[in-house]
């Protein structure tokens, strides 16, 4: 057995706390000669918060991974300073842009740094919904109760009575509403993991601010979702105060209304969000998309001309499906086909219809206005479309449900009891396949086998396939007589 002796000596090193490396050494993107200071006014709260964020990113080793979003507001130029990936966003939209970034690059650290006009006015929808989805991003919300960049107009967070360029007599709650408490609002949502309001005033509170920033970033590192840190911050220039009085104004006027504190903290129970990586293998993509390899061979080169068909019934009778069956079978036969449904609210409850064109040449308009064949599955369909049928055309009438005859004499009328024939097979829902059979009896564009192929691929249960095949046959046999 050997013994190791550990000697401990205390050494003294010199350290300098200065500008974090997550700030650019010189601000080359900034115009003008001075590339070392910010564009912010003396005593502005933005600079302090930038510094706290930069310090946290450096110490947490996040510089390479961070995407900093500069929105519209005084911090629109944050990309001059932050030595991270930078994206500038439209006014108020940073949380939406951040959503795109966070979903696109799930290992990145997305920071949405927004002012009060940006976040609480023009971007209200974006912040609320990004928070509600629990996007893995961190929002730093600078609340200085005014629009800074545009020169001092009223913000949604402007205090009651506060004079600004657009509230020259002081904000009047009766006409301009009350200052919005965004932390409280965001904290009512389920998804956000952490919501805190801090006040960037004296040293003690700056340290609270520093702690909150780190915590929010750490939560994002752990993929625990959306965190929101509201920072009460000075705007001496637009408040028309010196920096010292500005700090006092936050303490005396803002803090009593915007109470600092933790509004939500689900750190303990929050689970990391799952990650996904897009599949890039083309074969795997094709399999997922259900795309079959190989070529569709034309089965025949029959000269059938062009048939314009309208199939109509009430919703649930399967008029649209019958049309799709014919179109698919026609395609498999090597013919040109189109299928266009009546879409939108008109489909619900009312008459549903579709236009089907089957042709041996290129098809023009997919909308059938003058059908060669109308398949009328109920009375309203016959009433609605009888007059549209082209002279010399045909109507196939569901005589189970339509108690009148076709009134025109320049067209052929065929009466087939779709519903009864289907009911006879014990499957009333197969009235539309009966109709398809009846159609093929009158218009032998292709063999019934083409329809059977479609049925075999569209129904999973063998029994359903067989019943529908019999329904086609029933319609076909009845339609021939």
């Amino acid at each position: 057995m050997t013994t190791t002796t550990i000697t401990t000596t205390t050494t003294t090193t010199t350290i300098t706390k200065g500008k974090p490396s997550t700030f650019y050494e010189t601000f080359e993107r900034k115009a003008g000669k001075d590339k070392l200071t910010t564009h912010y006014c003396p005593g502005c709260g933005h600079g302090r918060v930038h510094k706290l964020v930069a310090e946290a990113l450096e110490e947490m080793g996040l510089g390479d991974r961070t995407i900093f979003i500069s929105p519209v507001g005084c911090s629109v130029f944050a990309y001059y300073y932050m030595n991270t990936g930078n994206v500038q966003a439209p006014h108020g939209r940073a949380p939406a842009v951040g959503t795109g970034l966070a979903r696109a690059r799930q290992d990145s650290i997305v920071i949405s740094y927004q002012g009060d006009g940006d976040l609480a006015a023009i971007g209200t929808a974006e912040i609320v919904h990004a928070a509600n989805r629990g996007e893995n991003m961190t929002v730093f919300f600078i609340n200085n109760a005014i629009y800074g960049m545009t020169g001092g107009q009223m913000a949604p967070t402007t205090m009651v009575g506060q004079k600004t360029l657009t509230s020259p007599y002081g904000r009047d709650a009766a006409t301009e509403g009350y200052p919005m408490r965004m932390s409280e609002l965001i904290a009512t949502l389920e998804a956000p993991v952490y919501v805190e309001r801090v006040s960037c005033t004296d040293v003690k509170n700056i340290h609270k601010c520093r702690k909150a920033i780190r915590k929010a970033l750490q939560l994002q590192v752990e993929r625990k979702g959306f965190s929101f840190v509201e920072i009460l911050s000075t705007c001496p220039t637009n408040w028309k105060m010196n920096p010292q009085d500005s700090i006092k104004w936050i303490q005396e006027v803002m803090e009593p209304y915007y109470k600092p504190g933790v509004y939500k903290d689900k750190t303990a129970e929050a689970k990391p969000l799952p990650k996904s990586a897009p599949i890039t293998d083309p074969d795997e993509l094709r399999r997922i998309l259900g795309l079959e390899k190989g070529k569709t061979e034309a089965k025949t080169r029959a000269s059938i001309g062009e048939r314009r068909i309208k199939i109509a019934g009430f919703g649930g009778q399967g008029a649209l499906t019958a049309g799709a069956m014919l179109a698919t079978a026609g395609m498999n036969e090597g013919l040109q086909v189109t299928w266009l449904p009546s879409y939108g609210p008109e489909m619900r409850g009312g008459t549903a219809n579709c236009s089907v064109i089957i042709s041996d040449k290129r098809i023009g308009s997919p909308l059938v206005m003058r059908p060669d064949v109308l398949i009328a599955m109920n009375r309203p369909s016959l009433d609605a479309f009888e007059q549209e049928v082209a002279p010399g055309g045909m109507i196939i009438v569901n005589s189970s449900m339509i108690d009148r005859k076709v009134s025109r004499s320049d067209i052929k009328a065929v009466y087939v009891p779709f519903t009864e024939l289907a009911a006879g097979l014990g499957l009333k829902a197969a009235a539309n396949t009966v109709a398809v059979g009846a159609f093929l009896a009158q218009e032998p564009l292709f063999d019934r086998e083409r329809i059977f192929e479609v049925l075999r691929t569209s129904f999973k249960k063998k029994e359903a396939v067989e019943t529908n095949i019999r329904a086609v046959d029933e319609g076909f046999n009845f339609g021939r007589t």
Partner: protein, 352 residues
């Protein structure tokens, strides 16, 4: 690939995924909703992202974000939604971000109705938002082209770093037709300008803000140069029986399909009528129109489901060398074949 009978709207999504699109952001609107629905189905299955945004504005800004991060990304909507998206499209142009937008046009103005129209031409082809920019605009007239042009839109938008729009309408979006999806799609190019949240791209900035007049002027000049290059290289069209035509119909999208029927009818009557179908609306197929105007064509007739939003482009392309007539309809109803036949016959017989 084997042919699949599929709605144009759904073909867009399969084509986009084949093209390497991984991120879809959208908002429901008739008649474009099938695109969002198919995206909601397929994007999670391929390890991608589908987000139903809180608004059209948010959706286009999510596209901005994912495009900034170097992904192939898209959204789709219809007229009222596109009006809302214009802000974001201007920013996409300013930041030179590639992105694909599908506009399945419906009838306007205002809420209008949900049936097909072509009244978004101005807002999509002429820019639409603030600033000096244009989008590449592709105009499919079939489900097959909904597939092909979606893929082309991704390729062009990455190549030129601009937004490419697939401008279609409710009827093309809703129609099922056989579509053959391609066996091979070119992968996206490397995007060294993107901001991916890694060491390699840490230095990068995606932005549309240029504070000095000189740099903003330079951006604008670069954009105009890009648009000139697009005009020179990317004009696409289809000639339909226009080789011997005395009157040429200019129509795109579903109107061109109705025009085909009309031309068949007119030819039967002995009228020498053909069609020039723009497949790209920006760039507008000026070259071909100029050739036609210099030849035997006596007149042109623009047929649109709008109040004539495309007619200026035709007149400017042919420099007013030949008369241009117009047939237009709106409100959501497709033109009847006879209406176009009548309009063309009247124009054909006009002496001046």
């Amino acid at each position: 690939m084997k042919k699949e009978l599929i709605k144009g709207n759904e073909a867009v999504v399969k084509a986009a995924i084949l093209a390497g699109c991984t991120h879809y952001f959208g908002y429901p609107i008739t008649p474009a909703s099938e695109i969002a629905q198919a995206a909601a189905h397929f994007f999670p299955l391929i390890g991608g992202t589908f987000v139903q945004a809180e608004s059209e504005v948010a959706a286009i800004n999510m596209v901005y974000g994912a495009a900034s991060a170097g992904r192939r990304t898209m959204t789709a909507s219809s007229g009222p939604g596109l009006s809302l998206k214009q802000e974001g499209i201007s920013y996409l142009a300013g930041a030179e971000l590639p992105s694909v937008i599908v506009d399945v046009m419906r009838a306007g103005p205002g809420l209008g109705n949900i049936w097909p129209e072509q009244g978004d031409y101005n807002q999509m082809v002429k820019g639409g938002g603030h600033g000096n920019y244009k989008n590449i605009v592709l105009a499919p007239n079939s489900a097959q082209e909904m597939c092909d042009f979606t893929i082309l839109a991704f390729e062009l938008s990455d190549h030129y770093r601009c937004t490419a729009v697939v401008l279609t309408d409710g009827s093309i979006g809703q129609t099922m037709e056989p579509v053959e999806f391609p066996d091979h799609v070119k992968p996206a190019p490397a995007k060294d300008w993107a901001v991916r949240g890694d060491a390699e791209t840490r230095k990068n900035l995606v932005s549309s803000i240029y504070m000095s007049t000189e740099t903003l002027r330079a951006l604008n000049e670069r954009l105009q140069k890009k648009y000139a290059e697009i005009e020179a290289r990317e004009q696409r069209w289809e000639d339909y029986r226009d080789d011997d035509a005395e009157l040429v119909i200019v129509a795109y999208g579903v109107t061109s399909r109705v025009a085909e029927n009309a031309i068949e009818e007119l030819r039967r009557k002995g009228l020498k009528v053909g069609m020039l179908r723009p497949k790209t609306l920006f760039p507008f197929p000026k070259k071909r129109l100029q050739e036609l105007a210099a030849g035997r064509v006596r007149r042109f007739l623009v047929a649109e489901m709008s109040n004539g939003q495309m007619i200026d482009d035709v007149k400017l392309a042919i420099e007013h060398k030949k008369p241009v007539d117009f047939y237009g309809t709106y409100g959501g109803k497709l033109p009847a074949v006879e209406e176009i036949v009548d309009a063309v016959e009247t124009a054909y017989n006009r002496q001046s």
